[in-house]
């Protein structure tokens, strides 16, 4: 039981829970409690420290902003108005709050608000579905398009869209980059002949990729009324992020240990067998490193691309909130920041787990 829990934790890359499990199981309490202190308590302390610094920083920024606001009113409208303003700020009235870095508690409140908002919108959607169910059936029977919900997407919906975009982009990168990487890695001629293209295209900014994809997709989808913004953003994400996989795959395939190649030669494996049974497994660790970089790059450029392509995901959420300038916009942006970071972390963990499962190199990933 205990061992299988530890094994499970290790497998998903949360090996630092091991001492806690051992401690609960009553095993070598002295050694394990220092381990718990080191591996669990210390990180928690660092999180608390971070929140503390954030809190005091936001407080001082708040005070600076508030004082500036009061002084401004004093200069323009006199002492009486300034006193009113001060009272207004102290009372916590929404109408006169200074606009600055939100405090942890404000961000937490916004987080809960966004979840509540999601519940309301979901309920709304369900109600809409029920209302239109009968009508839609008729419309479909008549050969018309069904009526769909066109209301504002909730925060959770936007997260889902973003994840969908990233996965589509990642899949595209995987399907393009790995085969090309393998082919390029196998032939030195191809490698040298395409090297310039890869080296030039690799550092191109995500924004430029987006514009390029936009030029092409806009023309290709002239007649369709599908979701072009999604197509544009996932293709751009794929194109931006595939380079790490391409380069790593080519390198992995071209630098397979000579001993393994000699084994393949001595056993007289056919060329397909040689590729699939020796070269590919041998280069899997490097290919996976490339894929992990690709996924994290995909997630990173996604925000910028969604922001520009107007695809309804986290990127446009951040941008809209920034443009919105409402009282809680700043804290919503910070919520989005943490959500983005956390999902990025999860995606990397998932890749690491898959890598451990498939690849022979069972070393702890970094």
């Amino acid at each position: 039981m205990k061992d299988s829990i530890i094994k499970g934790f290790r497998f998903i890359g949360l090996g630092f829970f091991e001492p806690l499990v051992r401690l609960i199981a009553g095993e070598d309490s002295r050694k394990n409690s220092t381990e718990v202190l080191k591996k669990i308590i210390a990180p928690i302390a660092s999180i608390l420290l971070f929140i503390g610094i954030w809190y005091s920083g936001s407080k001082s920024l708040f005070n600076t902003e508030a004082n500036y606001k009061i002084e401004k009113v004093r200069k323009e409208q006199g002492d009486e108005e300034a006193a009113k303003m001060k009272a207004c700020i102290e009372s916590g009235d929404v109408s006169c709050q200074p606009n600055t870095l939100p405090s942890p508690s404000q961000v937490w409140a916004s987080y809960k608000l966004l979840l509540k908002d999601h519940k309301i919108i979901s309920a709304d959607k369900d109600a809409f579905k029920q209302k239109t169910a009968a009508m839609n059936e008729k419309r479909v029977a008549q050969g018309k398009n069904p009526i769909v919900y066109t209301g504002r997407p909730s925060f959770v919906d936007q997260i889902k869209t973003s994840i969908k975009t990233v996965f589509a982009g990642f899949l595209l990168a995987l399907l393009i980059a790995t085969p090309i990487g393998i082919i390029i890695g196998l032939s030195e001629t191809l490698r040298t002949s395409f090297n310039w293209l890869i080296q030039i295209l690799k550092p191109v900014s995500p924004v430029v990729w987006l514009l390029l994809v936009f030029m092409i997709v806009k023309t290709l989808t002239k007649d369709s009324n599908g979701d072009t913004s999604f197509i544009i953003s996932f293709i751009s994400v794929g194109l931006c992020s595939m380079w790490a996989t391409l380069v790593n795959t080519a390198m992995g395939v071209s630098s397979v240990d000579k001993d393994y190649i000699n084994v393949a030669k001595v056993l007289k494996l056919g060329s397909l067998q040689k590729i699939f049974k020796v070269i590919l497994p041998a280069s899997l660790p490097l290919i996976f490193t490339g894929l992990r970089i690709t996924l994290s790059v995909a997630w990173m450029v996604l925000i910028a691309i969604e922001l520009l392509a107007q695809s309804p995901g986290l990127g446009s959420f951040v941008w809209e909130e920034f443009q919105n300038g409402a009282n809680d916009s700043n804290s919503k942006i910070i919520v989005a920041m943490f959500v983005i970071g956390f999902i990025g972390f999860l995606l990397d963990r998932i890749m690491l787990t898959i890598q451990k499962f498939i690849s022979f190199d069972k070393n702890e990933g970094i």
């Binding site: 001993d259 001595v266 056993l267 007289k268 494996l269 020796v278 022979f360 069972k362």
Partner: protein, 285 residues
Amino acid sequence: MAYLELNNVTKTYGTGENTTKVLDNINLHIEEGEFVAIVGFTGSGKTTLVNLINGLEKPTSGEVLFKGKPVEDTSHERGVIFQNYSLLPWLTVYQNVEMAVKEAFPKKPKKFIDQRIKEYVEMVSLSHAIHKRPKELSGGMRQRVSVARALSMDPEMIIMDEPLGALDALTRGNLQDEILNIWNKNKRTALLITNDVDEGIYMADRIIPLRPGPKATLGPEFKIDIERPRDKTALNDNASFKKTRNEIIEYLMEIGNERSSNSEIQYELPDIQPKDLRWEFKASK
């Protein structure tokens, strides 16, 4: 015509000014059923010689003939046991051997292949570890897998490139006996490359020293006339063993000295003494 023939084989690496002649004028004849050992210092070009014979590399000049035909490529007839095991780390013991068996007997039914794999893994007494990966095995066990893999293809000739170099004395002795057993049972031809003179004498019919490279070439051969099966413990008291061993070692020492006296450049060392900083430190206090 000998079973394996190397005639005036030369191998050079690099081009232009950077050419190094690794092997020079190698002549070697091995008869069918013979066990020949080549003894040499590390870095004398032994592995290059092995690669030429098994077909991984081609000679710069001269010819390598196997059963009268020039060696152009690797072949299932010549099984190789590599110095560094060369097992595929992502495959289990079973799968590593399976790869070889499947290639050597592509038309045989699954059952035959399965049996053959198990038989050879059993032969190197690794049945208990058949589903483990190389990483989980000790060095000796890995080398045994490598032996099983090479022999499972049923090669006519076994080429061994310092197969036991990295093993401890006990495992080494066991594996030597296992290899001898297989060689004897199936009447195969064997070529052993080693840096251990005792190992060569214990196992081989003939020992040929390789003069160290660059421009490595084979020295005069030494015949071992000790009757088989040889007893390792009694070997130390055998007069013929002692004599041959001394002769070979003397020869190797001689060429070793020759090499070092040839290549050594005399540097004149400046006449300096270390300075005692401790004392100075104390004095200044």
